[in-house]
C-alpha cells in the first residue's frame, strides 16, 4: 500500500516501436559507475550495402544485384534476413517490435554515457557466412566486412573490433588474420560457427588456428539462430518453430564446436590460443564439460594427444553471458558458475542492439560478491582481449 510520505511522479509515455535501447543502463548508472564494464558482444549495422565499396570484379557485380532485391519489406541487403528467418517469417507477429541495427552514431551515443568502457564489435549480417556453400564468396564478404569495419570504427575510444573469417576457406582466413592482426583495434578473430561442416576442429581449419596463435589473437565463436542449412548437428528439418531454433541452435552448435576443438587436440597443439563462445547462454557449460569427461574415461585412447581430461581444457574457455538464462533463485547464477568453475572466464555480453539483447537488470538481479561481479562485468574480458583498464 502506498503511504502519503512516498513521492509521486507522473509521466506521459509513448509506446516504443523499437525495443527500449540503453534505458536499462541509465537505470543502473550510479551502481555501474564503480565498475570497469566491457560489453563483449555488440553489433552495428553491417548490412551488405556497406560492403559494396570494398568489393571488386564479379563479386562487386553480384553484390550490386543483391542490393536491388526487396525482401518482403526487409532491406534487400540483409543477408541475415534473406537466409536466416525465411522459414519462420512473421511467426512472432512482429512482437517484440523489431530492433534496428545500430548506426555508428547510436553506438557512440551509448558509449558517451560513460558507463561502458569497451564495446567489442562482432558481425551481425555476416554471421551466416559460415554455411554459405561457396568458399570464395564467403571469403570475399569477410574481407569486405573487415576492411569496412576498420575504416569505419578504428580509433574510437573504447571501440574494439573482432574480424570475421570464412572457415570454409581456411587459407584465405589465415591471410585475413595476418593482414589485420597488427592493428591496435583488432582484438579477436570471430568464427561464425553455425553450419560449419565438417566441425571446426577438423584438420582442414588448422591454418586458421595457426594464424590466430601466431598473433596471439583470441578466437570467438559466435552463433546465429539461422538454420537454413543441412549440416550436423542441427538441420532445419528438426525445427518447426523459431523458438526451438533460438533456444537450441546456439548451445548445440557451441557444444559441438567445443567438443570438436578439444577432441582434435587443438588446445594441446596451440597452447597459447584462447577461445570464447558467445551468444549461447551459460547453463550448458557444466553439461558439456562433465559429459565429455564421463566418455573420456572409456574412450581416452581415441584422443591420445590430450594431456588432461576434456573439462580441464574447457574450463579455460571464456563465455559471454548472453542470452542470460533466468534462473529461479537470485543465488543461482553463482551456483551455476561454480559448477563450471567460470569465475575467471565468464564475461558480460549484451548482444546490443539485437531483439534478444540482455538488459543489464537481468544480470544485476543475481546476488554475488563484489569481486565476482567486477570480474564478470569487465576484468575477465580485459584479460581475455588484452585491453588496458580504463578506470
Amino acid at each position: 500500500m502506498a503511504t502519503d510520505a512516498q513521492s509521486v511522479k507522473v509521466q506521459k509515455v509513448e509506446p516504443s516501436f523499437n525495443p527500449v535501447q540503453d534505458e536499462d543502463l541509465d537505470q543502473y548508472s550510479d551502481e555501474l559507475a564503480e565498475y570497469t564494464i566491457v560489453d563483449v558482444d555488440v553489433h552495428v549495422d553491417d548490412t551488405l550495402m556497406f560492403m559494396l565499396d570494398y568489393m571488386e570484379g564479379h563479386f562487386r557485380k553480384r553484390l550490386e544485384t543483391i542490393l536491388q532485391v526487396d525482401f518482403k519489406g526487409e532491406p534487400g541487403n540483409s543477408l541475415r534476413n534473406m537466409i536466416a528467418h525465411i522459414a519462420w517469417l512473421g511467426s512472432s507477429y512482429d512482437k517484440p517490435p523489431r530492433a534496428k541495427l545500430a548506426s555508428k552514431q547510436e553506438l557512440l551515443k551509448r558509449m558517451e554515457k560513460g558507463i561502458i568502457d569497451y564495446s567489442i564489435l562482432f558481425p551481425s549480417e555476416l554471421l551466416p557466412i559460415g554455411y554459405l556453400p561457396e568458399p570464395k564468396w564467403a571469403a570475399a564478404l569477410a574481407t569486405a566486412y573487415n576492411e569496412y569495419m576498420v575504416d569505419a570504427y578504428q580509433n574510437l575510444a573504447g571501440i574494439k573490433i573482432a574480424i570475421v573469417v570464412a572457415p570454409q576457406y581456411p587459407e584465405r582466413a589465415a591471410e585475413e588474420i595476418d593482414h589485420h592482426a597488427g592493428h591496435p583495434d583488432i582484438v579477436s578473430v570471430c568464427i561464425p560457427d553455425v553450419g560449419v561442416n565438417p566441425p571446426i576442429g577438423d584438420q582442414k581449419y588448422w591454418p586458421i588456428f595457426e594464424a590466430a596463435a601466431r598473433h596471439s589473437l583470441p578466437i570467438c565463436f559466435h552463433g546465429i539462430e539461422a538454420l537454413i542449412h543441412d549440416n550436423y548437428p542441427l538441420r532445419v528439418a528438426h525445427f518447426p518453430t523459431l523458438m526451438q531454433v533460438n533456444s537450441m541452435g546456439f548451445p548445440f552448435t557451441s557444444m559441438l564446436q567445443i567438443m570438436s576443438v578439444v577432441c582434435a587436440g587443438i588446445p594441446v597443439r596451440f597452447p597459447n590460443l584462447k577461445f570464447a563462445v558467445l551468444e549461447a547462454g551459460l547453463t550448458w557449460m557444466p553439461f558439456i564439460m562433465y559429459r565429455l569427461d564421463a566418455a573420456y574415461l572409456r574412450y581416452r585412447t581415441e584422443l591420445p594427444a590430450l594431456e588432461k581430461k576434456p573439462s580441464d581444457y574447457i574450463r579455460a574457455w571464456h563465455i559471454g553471458s548472453h542470452e542470460l538464462e533466468a534462473l529461479p533463485g537470485r543465488g543461482d547464477l553463482v551456483k551455476l558458475i561454480e559448477l563450471y568453475q567460470g569465475q575467471n572466464t565468464t564475461m558480460w555480453a549484451s548482444d546490443w542492439p539485437h531483439l534478444e539483447r540482455d538488459l543489464i537488470a537481468g544480470f544485476m538481479r543475481y546476488d554475488m560478491d563484489e569481486n565476482l561481479r567486477r570480474k564478470i562485468l569487465g576484468e575477465n574480458a580485459l584479460r581475455f582481449f588484452g585491453l588496458p583498464p580504463q578506470k
Binding site: 513521492s7 506521459k12 538481479r365
Partner: protein, 128 residues
C-alpha cells in the same frame, strides 16, 4: 457474492494521475510512487493500471505496444486463433505478453499486480 470492501481499503491512498482531458483514450502514463512503477492505460475510455516493470529484465511496461495474440485451447477446439486484439501489452524488452485487464502473463503461471483506477471530480486517480 457482492465484493466486500476490505478493512484496509479505506486507508488506501488515491494518487492523482491526470485530469481526464489530459488522459484521453489511446494514451498511457507511467506513475512512480516511491520506488514502485505503475503503468496506466486509457483504452476506449476505460482506465487500467498494472505493475510497470517486466519481471524478466525490468523493461518499462508503460512503453509496450498493445496488440492481440494467438491462443489455442479447448475452447478454440485446439485450433490457433487470433484473440484479445488491442488488449495484449507486449513488453518492449523481449516481447513477453500480458493481458492488460487482468495482468495475466500469456503462457506463464503468474500475473502482474493490477490496480484500481477511479475518476473523481474530473481527475483520474490510482488507488493503491
Amino acid at each position: 457474492m457482492p465484493q466486500q470492501p476490505s478493512p484496509s481499503s479505506r486507508s488506501k491512498r488515491k494518487i492523482t494521475v491526470a485530469a481526464v482531458e489530459d488522459f484521453p483514450p489511446g494514451t498511457r502514463m507511467e506513475v512512480q510512487v516511491g520506488r514502485a512503477v505503475i503503468a496506466v492505460f486509457n483504452i476506449d475510455g476505460e482506465y487500467y493500471a498494472l505493475y510497470g516493470r517486466c519481471p524478466h529484465q525490468s523493461a518499462p511496461l508503460s512503453r509496450g505496444r498493445l496488440q492481440g495474440t494467438v491462443i489455442c485451447n479447448a475452447e478454440t477446439g485446439w485450433e490457433t486463433e487470433w484473440a484479445y486484439d488491442g488488449e495484449v501489452l507486449v513488453c518492449p524488452g523481449h516481447g513477453m505478453e500480458y493481458h492488460l485487464k487482468s495482468g495475466k502473463a500469456f503462457g506463464y503461471t503468474f500475473k502482474l499486480r493490477t490496480y484500481e483506477v477511479v475518476v473523481e471530480e474530473g481527475q483520474v486517480k490510482l488507488v493503491m
